[in-house]
Amino acid sequence: MSDDMTAYRDVFLSESAEYLQAMTEGLLALEAEPNDLEPVETVFRGAHSLKGMAAAMGYTRTQELTHKMESLMDTVRKRVQVADHGLIDLMLRATDTVQTVIDDESGGGDAVDIAPMVAELVARTAGASSAPGPVTHHGAGESARHPSDEDGARYRIRVSIEESCVLKGVRAYMTLKRLSHMGTIIDTTPSAREIEDEQFDRWFEVLFQTTSAPEAVRNAVLAVTEVEDALVERVETAPTAPTVPAETGAAPASPARSVPKLSDTQTVRISISHLDAMVNLVGELVIIRSRLERVARQSGLPDMVDALDALQRVSADLQQEVMQTRMVPVGNIFNRFPRMVRDLARDLGKDVTLITEGLDIELDRTVLDEIGDPIVHLLRNCVDHGIEAPEERQAVGKPTRGTVTLSAEREREQIRITVTDDGRGMDVERIWQAAVARGLADPATRESHSESDILLYVCMPGFSTVDKATRVSGRGVGMDVVKGKIEYLGGSISMRSKRGVGTTVSLVLPLTLAIIQALLIAFGERVYALPLGAVDEVLGLEEVNVTTIDGRWVAELRGGDVVTVQHFDPTEGLSAPGAVAPAAGDHLVLVRSGEETRALIAPSLIGRQEIVIKPLSRLLRGLHGLGGATVLGDGQVALILDPRTLFRTEG
C-alpha cells in the first residue's frame, strides 16, 4: 500500500464504521416500521457509499459485498419485495460481514471469504425478482438499466446549476436520479449527502459508469430544469486513485482536481494516549502549583504570590480545556445497544424495542469506556428477566412488544443513566425473604428498610448465587459486579420497581474522574483528602451544641437538626457512631454518605485543594472508606476518603 493510501485508511475506517452504524440503525428502524421508506433509503445509500469508498481504497471484497447489499436494498426500495424479518436479519449479518472484511482488507489480509454471504444476498435479491410483490409505478424494468460495474465506460461529469436556482439540492438530486437510470454513479464530489443538502456552490461532479454515449449522458443532464451546463469527460476505468474523503462524512471524492482541501477540516483526530498523557501532565502541573503556593506563602514573597495567582487562573483554564477534549457523547456507546437488544430478544423469542435518549450528553472518555459493560449487563437483565414473553404480556393486557428505555441526563457535575423496562417488575417481599435466608439481612430490621433499600440486596455479592428455584426475579445475576464497577467509578446505583409494571435502575456517575476539589484534614501525622462534593458544611465547635442522646455523642445544629458525631483514627479506623466526643479545637465536618449525614471530627483542617486522583494499588483497593490516593503540594501522599463507604462499619 502506498503512503497516500495509509493516510486515507484511518479516515476510511472510522467513516465506514459510521456508515455501518447508520445502516444498522436504519435496519432496526425498518424492522419496527416496515412501511417506512426513509430507513430503506438510509441503508441503501449507506451500502452505496461504502461501495464507492471501498472501490477507491481498492478493497475489492468490501466493494463486492456492499454492491450486493445495495442491490438487495434496491428491491426493497422499489417495493419489489418487503423487508421482512428474514431480509433484515440477512442484511444485519451482512453488515457484520462487511466489518469483518474491512478489518481484514485494511490489515492487508486475505482470510475472510465473502462468497457465502454474497451467495445469500444474491439469492435473496433474485428471489425477489422471480416472485415480484406489488410493483410501484416507477419500478418496472428499472433494474435492467443498471449495468454491472464491468460494463461500459467511465466518465467524470461536471454539472453546473443556474445561479438563480432556488433549490439547487433538489436539482442535483434530479440530475443524479436521471443519471442512475442510465448507468452507475460510482462517486460524487461533494458526497451525495452533501449535494442533496446543497453543500456545493454552483457545480458538483459525478463519477459515472455507463454504456450510453457521452452525448446522450450530456443531453440527459441538460434536460434537467435549471441545469446550466454539463461537461462529460472520459476517465480510465483502471482502479481509481484514492482521494481524501470530506470530513463531514460520505464517500471519498473523485480523483484529481476536485480533492477537497484538507484545510477545510475543523477537527483533528488525537490518539487517546496523547489525551491521557495530557491529563497526567495537567495533574502534575496542579500539584506543582500547590507546592509553589506553599513555598511562596512560607517565604512571604508578595510578587510571587501575585504571579502564582495568574498561574492559578491559566492552569485552571488549561485543565478545563484538557478535560473538555476528553468528553465524548454517550451516543458513542449507546448506539450499539439497539442491535444487541434486538438480537438478544430474538434469541429469547421476545419482542423488545430499545429507546435511547440523551445521546448527546457528554461524559469523560475514561468513565464512558468503563460503563459500557455495566450497561450491557443491565440491558441483558431487562430483556432476559424483566420483559415477559409475548404471550405472557398479552395475557395481562400489555402490548406484546416490550420497551426498554436507556437514557442519559446531565445533573450538574454528574450524569444520570437510567435503564427502564416495562416488564414484570421485582417482588420486594421475596427479595427480602431471600436476603434473610442468605443471611444478608436481619429479619428484625424489616421496618427500617425502604423498598429501594431492599431491591439493592440483589446487588450484594452472594445474593446472585441463589439458585433458579428461588431466584426471585433473576435480577441478581451479576448485579454485584455492576454495583462494584459503578462505585469504583465514584458513582452510585439505585432501583425502583413495581410488580407487573416494570423496573428502573439509575446510575449516577461523575462526569470526570481525574481531578476533584477536596478538603484536606490532618488526623495526627496523616493527611486525608475528603471530596468536597460530599461535604455539606465545616463547623467550629462553638457553632453547634454538642451533647449526648441515649449515650451517643451528637451535634445539634443551628437549624435544630441533630447529627451523630463520628470519630476517625488513621490506625484504628472508625469508632462506633457517637462513641467519642470532639476535643477542644476540633472541627466538625458534615459529611453526606448516602441518605445519612454525620459530623466527622476533624482534629486539624489544612484547607481546600484540587487533587488529582490516582487509583489505589491493587492491595489497598476495596479497603473500606478509601477511594484512592493523591500527591500533595509538599510531595506527601494523602489517602482519599470515600464518603460512600466511609461510615459503613459492617465490612
Partner: protein, 124 residues
C-alpha cells in the same frame, strides 16, 4: 390543439397568477382547490399536465399526486411549492412528479418548465 392544464392550489391568488401566465400562451386552464378536488377533476378532464401545490387542506398535493398517478401512470404532474419544502419536493419527485417550481416564480420559468414537462413522457 391547445393543451389543457389543471391548476391546483388552495389560494385563489396563486391559481389566478398561474392561469394568467399560461392562458396568455394559449393553454386551456381548469382549476382545483385542494387535493381531493384535483383527483376528481383530473379523472373528469384528463388534462395534459397538472400544476400541483403541495400544502393544501382536505388532501395534500403529495397524496393527490399518488392517487392521480395510481389511476393514470402517464399523468404529468409538476409540483409547486414554497421555499423550504425540499423534503416534500424530493418525495413528490420520488412519486413520479416530473419537475417542480418554487414560489415565488417568474412567468418565464413557469412557461419553460410546463413546456419541458409536456415534451417529456412520464414513465408509467
Amino acid at each position: 390543439m391547445s393543451k389543457t392544464v389543471l391548476v391546483v392550489d388552495d389560494a385563489a391568488f396563486m391559481r389566478m397568477m398561474i392561469r394568467d401566465i399560461l392562458a396568455r400562451e394559449g393553454y386551456v386552464i381548469h382549476e382545483a382547490v385542494n387535493g381531493r378536488d384535483a383527483v376528481e377533476k383530473y379523472l373528469e378532464i384528463k388534462p395534459d399536465i397538472v400544476t400541483m401545490d403541495i400544502t393544501m387542506p382536505e388532501m395534500s398535493g403529495l397524496e393527490a399526486l399518488r392517487l392521480i398517478r395510481e389511476q393514470d401512470p402517464g399523468a404529468r404532474v409538476l409540483v409547486v411549492s414554497a421555499m423550504g419544502q425540499q423534503k416534500m419536493i424530493v418525495e413528490a419527485l420520488e412519486n413520479g412528479a416530473l419537475d417542480f417550481l418554487v414560489k415565488p416564480f417568474q412567468p418565464t420559468k413557469v412557461l419553460e418548465t410546463v413546456k419541458k414537462c409536456l415534451q417529456t413522457t412520464p414513465r408509467g
